[in-house]
Subunit: 323 residues, 2 copies
């Protein structure tokens, strides 16, 4: 019996149900698009978080709410959409206290205000299991301009925003496996969706997605959707000082295969390097060229991480496995 | 410390976050609306199902998928919207088998085909808890014509489609607490969203919602949203022969307070009686006038169930309580 995995069986079973709508992108993108009013599309995405899997049960409730909002907004960012609406599906254990709920609502309120979102619907049910949350986010994007994973072209540079790996090490802090370090912990608990960057990348980037399952795994998604191969130069992967300090003992692998970065990973032709450098300065956001896309050929795996000598580094796994 | 309940604390905490968008209806309707293309609105709704709460863990997987689709479509029906798109959020226990998943996908495929739905997105994650599913459904409705709970007027008749209580007794069959009876069991496992009725009620009904938490509780939602009071004549509540046979020992109370009917409950002025009778004949669907709306006055509770002498029957609880 085949094992259940997000990118295999489930994709094969569900993808045919998307055939009726081109904007579903065969379920291979973070957002689908549907027609909106007056030359706009609605970009729409849904993401679920489970206590003990995507956050720790004793994380502060306001931060859980904000993480839920932000992982969904990160999907909108990767499509170049501006956030507008949110729907929530909350499965609360019966033991949840009013204090906890008030904290959760306060976090939700803060991020709705901060990101200009209206909560327009939801469902609240009781669960005998762990706290389980799902959100659907809707954003607006000019018709046909949503950024997609599958539009990378051979010769494109591969770019990534911010720094990679902080959240993976932040999880270790949250679990008490590493010394307390608030900047890493915050990157794990409170992702910063790169919404302004996403909007600005419309017309500049060819392909775009957000890094949620790990840099290497997610670049593999762009490569697969674009029928290309990708190379990353390990030395170019942008790392924070905090992560750089932990580079020994498999640290680089942890950084490039750990999840929860919520940075944007995108490709663009070399003639856009100047424009992208200027964009990074304007947004005060580090944008780093880390590799390139090339014809798929016979190279395996679809993404190779190269050391200074151009040798592919072996990785135990490319990213977070859901199953 | 106050207890957590869907209609109290959570509503109070979340409703302010909806203020930025009139189409959110203050989170008091089953669907919100957002602008669509060319004179249309998108009606959008989200509903979650948890194993052991909303279905039984050993229910057939195709029926679980179809129930998930249908409870969401029932929300669209109650708004008078035609279904178009679906997004899924699936939290699967790791022990799920490929056979189970294939059954689930087959049920999903059957209902996507049957209702003209395209699956346009979703998220699949692992959970250490029970199978937990959420869906977001989008349907189209002419701008500003979505049916709402809060539009009932004094003097309106109260109508309901189909028969009430079958699903509540079907749950007893599913639990092995009652003799096997396939028609009741099917009503519990496989709701029939009243989509054609919903579309036809645009322009005929004043207020509309679907019956999911129990007839009395849900009419209470219409009454509260409309700032009115409602009366139901117990003898008029439409019951199937199977439910009628079980009327002894609190059977009527079970029928009018049990959940999962997924019939439409609506109000309309008396001058529409002829038109509604004709509509019922055209759709080959029983439409029954069961009561009326009146000014709120000082009457408590907001919905009264009257016996043949006009005396209010006492109910232990008006409907399903989530918490």
């Amino acid at each position: 019996m085949p094992s259940i995995d997000e990118f295999g069986l489930i994709a094969r079973l569900f993808a045919p149900l998307a055939r009726g709508h081109a904007g579903a992108q065969g379920l291979q993108d973070d957002c689908a698009t549907i027609d909106g009013p007056g030359g706009m599309d609605w970009a729409i995405s849904t993401d679920a978080l489970v206590a003990g899997v995507h956050f720790l049960p004793d994380d502060p409730p306001d931060l859980i709410a904000r993480k839920l909002v932000r992982v969904n907004l990160s999907d909108l960012a990767s499509s170049g959409a501006r956030p507008r609406f949110l729907l929530l599906s909350c499965c609360f254990p019966r033991a949840m206290t009013a204090d906890w709920l008030e904290g959760f609502a306060a976090g939700l309120a803060a991020d709705c205000r901060g990101f200009g979102l209206a909560l327009i619907g939801g469902d609240t049910v009781a669960t005998p299991g762990p706290l389980t949350l799902a959100a659907t986010a809707l954003g607006e994007v000019p018709s046909g301009q949503a950024l997609l994973r599958g539009h990378a072209r051979p010769g494109d540079d591969v770019w990534v925003s911010g720094t990679i790996g902080d959240a993976a090490f932040g999880l270790e802090v949250a679990l008490g496996q590493a010394p307390d370090q608030s900047d890493l912990l915050e990157r794990y608990r409170l992702p910063r969706p790169r919404l302004e960057l996403g909007v600005a990348l419309r017309g500049l980037a060819h392909a775009c997605m957000d890094v949620s399952d790990g840099l290497v795994a997610d670049l593999g998604q762009i490569a697969a959707a674009s029928h290309l191969h990708a190379e990353i130069r390990a030395a170019e992967v942008p790392l924070s000082a905090a992560v750089r300090a932990r580079l020994g003992g498999g640290g680089l692998e942890r950084a490039v295969t750990g999840g929860d970065d919520y940075e944007l990973l995108f490709t663009a032709p070399p003639e856009r390097r100047e424009a992208l450098a200027a964009l990074g300065r304007r947004l005060d956001l580090r944008l780093t060229r880390i590799g390139r896309m090339m014809p798929a050929g016979d190279l395996r795996p679809p993404v190779r991480l190269l050391d200074g000598q151009g040798t592919a580094l072996a990785l135990r796994r490319p990213g977070y496995r859901h199953f």
